[in-house]
């Protein structure tokens, strides 16, 4: 009844009110989404700021010598990051050395050689494995891989290379099972599915026509992959590899279990070592003095800085690929 009684005029003001309310709601919604986006930036800024503030005492006490000294002695309160930085770089380097060629090999197998029937199941299996948490790789490395490696690889290699000048030192020492090379190998197994999955996706962006044309000219599979597919997909493959490198550098659990947590740089790859993340994970809750905690946070800052550079490069390369694919 009331509705019918409304004159045209009140109807219009009611409408105007509704429109205005909708407009205000619209602005509010827009602002909320903007706020959430700004929060992402705020978290990032917060991470950097808190790390910088936390590491001030350590840098004040040790200066830039913190980056270049190997001593790590909680008892004497002398800290240097060199052994951890070295461990992080060497384990990631060795892991990439194994995982990149094998990962690309798997991707080539999946896109070109694999029987069509197996392609999807193997592809899905690899993607799922890329999501398995690193602590699983860690516990497997500690209980299964390290003992096996000790008996079947380290011992024979140490015996075979003893006395040979450079190689002898590189693979010298006692067969502990755990150590730098064990950590590197487990890291490489961990990032392998990741590299394969990204590389396969990138290979699939290569236009089929391009490949068909090359095959049509009589090229072999090797020539098609090496001369056409890889050059076309280069920035994507490099970007994917750098993403994996970023993971390897910051990886904590897969490494902490098997690296041995020894703060020294040993000439042998079989010797125990440590990485930035392993040091933080092992020692943070035990750090009692302010300078100890601050030194560990400084390690975190260094790690964040290194991974930021690697990940930023990876992003830029993958963006470039996206643009290329969009054309």
């Amino acid at each position: 009844m009331a509705d019918i009684a409304l004159t045209d005029e009140t109807d219009l003001t009611a409408r105007a009110r509704t429109t205005r309310r909708a407009g205000a709601g619209d602005a509010r919604f827009h602002f909320l989404t903007w706020l959430a986006a700004a929060l992402v930036l705020l978290i990032f800024a917060g991470v950097i700021t808190s790390l910088v503030i936390g590491s001030v005492p350590a840098f004040k006490a040790f200066g830039f010598g913190f980056l270049t000294t190997e001593v790590w002695s909680p008892a004497r309160e002398r800290f240097g990051a060199l052994a951890s930085i070295y461990g992080t770089l060497i384990t990631s380097f060795l892991a990439m050395l194994v995982a990149v060629p094998v990962g690309i090999g798997v991707a080539i197998f999946l896109t070109e050689l694999c029987p069509r029937m197996l392609r999807r199941p193997i592809g899905i299996a690899i993607e799922l494995l890329a999501g398995i948490p690193s602590i699983i790789y860690g516990i497997w490395g500690l209980f299964v891989f390290a003992p096996w490696f000790q008996d079947h690889v380290q011992l024979p290699v140490i015996n075979a290379t003893q006395g040979i000048p450079v190689i002898g030192t590189l693979f010298g020492g006692a067969p502990y099972g755990i150590g730098v090379i064990t950590a590197s190998l487990i890291l490489s197994i961990m990032i392998l599915p990741f590299i394969s999955a990204v590389t396969r996706d990138v290979f699939e962006t290569v236009p089929a026509m391009l490949k068909e044309a090359t095959y049509g000219l009589g090229c072999t599979t090797w020539e098609v992959m090496w001369r056409v597919v890889l050059p076309f997909a280069r920035s994507g493959v490099v970007g994917g590899a750098m993403l994996a490198l970023g993971r390897a550098l910051g990886e904590t659990m897969a490494v902490t279990f098997v690296i041995g947590n020894a703060h020294k740089i040993d000439s042998s790859l079989f010797a125990p070592g440590t990485t930035i993340s392993a040091t933080i994970a092992n020692e943070f809750t035990e750090a009692t003095s302010e300078i100890y905690t601050s030194s560990l946070i400084s390690l975190g800052l260094i790690l964040f800085f290194i991974t930021f550079i690697v990940l930023a490069c990876a992003q830029l390369m993958l963006r470039q690929l996206e643009k290329q694919a969009g054309k």
């Binding site: 989404t33 959430a36 808190s50 503030i53 936390g54 209980f143 299964v144 970023g246």
Partner: protein, 281 residues
């Protein structure tokens, strides 16, 4: 003559290449099968009903993982409850409002960095801003450190999935006179529903195995606790502590925990995949 040696060389190079890539594939798959195999054999042997009913034991006595499972679930739920809306809104901003602006570009870039930044570093951040001011480790800090991991995952998938929604749908709704916010939450979000849920599931999968940031935020707790103000147990932290201990029965519990975590992650990823396929079709 010359041609024949050339052909031969190309054929040999090709065969070598094919053999090498097949070898790479076998090498990779063998290791991964090895890992899953030992996980299954060790984990299944350690499974028992008491895992879910009893708390973590002192060395030498029987027990389960119930406090760790509960702690993990509580902190993950809280992290997802808070992180999802933030991620959803930020992803919506990128896809619907920001688009190609410089601000959106920076947010996207920073988000992708956070997505793969080392989780141990985000743990340090939460330690500095929550644990230090509170003066003690707590479940709140643990949940916050997981939330920092949830947000970038949800932002990335939300943006990707919203971009899959056809423009004609938005245009049709706008033409009917719906304001933009209404179009987004009643049309675009609805259309991208399966995809957005995918993002949340992926985020849960990601945090359910996350260990590093929990070590110095939630710490660990040997007893059953639902108190977010105190240290809280979590499956990954218990696995870490027990695996590195010298006790045989703790090792068994660590394997059982590892199997539980892997089963959870794989189940979530498979459901997420199915949903994503549904969204893309």
């Amino acid at each position: 003559m010359i041609n024949q040696t050339l052909y031969l060389r190309r054929r040999v190079a090709n065969s070598v290449f094919i053999v090498l890539s097949i070898a790479a594939a076998i090498f990779g798959l063998v290791w991964l099968a090895f890992i899953l195999g030992s996980l299954l054999s060790q984990g299944v042997a350690a499974l028992s009903p008491t895992l879910f009913t009893e708390a973590t034991p002192p060395p030498g006595s029987a027990g389960g993982l119930s406090n760790a499972i509960l702690g993990s679930v509580l902190m993950s739920v809280l992290a997802v409850l808070v992180g999802t809306p933030i991620g959803l809104f930020a992803g919506t901003y990128l896809a619907e409002y920001g688009k190609h602006t410089r601000f959106a570009f920076v947010v996207r870039f920073v988000n992708d960095i956070l997505l793969s930044a080392p989780s141990i570093v985000t743990g340090l951040f939460i330690y500095e801003i929550i644990v230090v001011p509170m003066g003690h480790f707590s479940g709140w800090a643990g949940a916050a450190s997981l939330m920092v991991i949830v947000i970038p995952v949800v932002v990335r998938t939300t943006e990707n999935m919203l971009l899959l929604v056809p423009h004609t749908l938005r245009e049709a709704a706008t033409a009917l006179g719906a304001p933009m916010s209404f179009v987004i939450h009643s049309v675009t979000w609805k259309a991208a529903q399966a995809g957005i849920i995918t993002g949340v599931l992926l985020a849960v999968a990601r945090i359910s195995g996350e260990t590093a940031p929990l070590l110095f935020t939630a710490l660990n707790n040997q007893f059953m606790s639902t108190n977010f103000n105190g240290p809280m147990a979590s499956l990954p932290a218990v696995i870490f502590q027990y695996a590195l201990s010298p006790y045989e029965d703790w090792h068994r519990l660590a394997w059982a925990g590892a199997l539980l975590v892997t089963a959870t992650v794989l189940t979530l990823s498979i459901i997420a995949r199915l949903l994503e396929n549904k969204q893309r079709n």
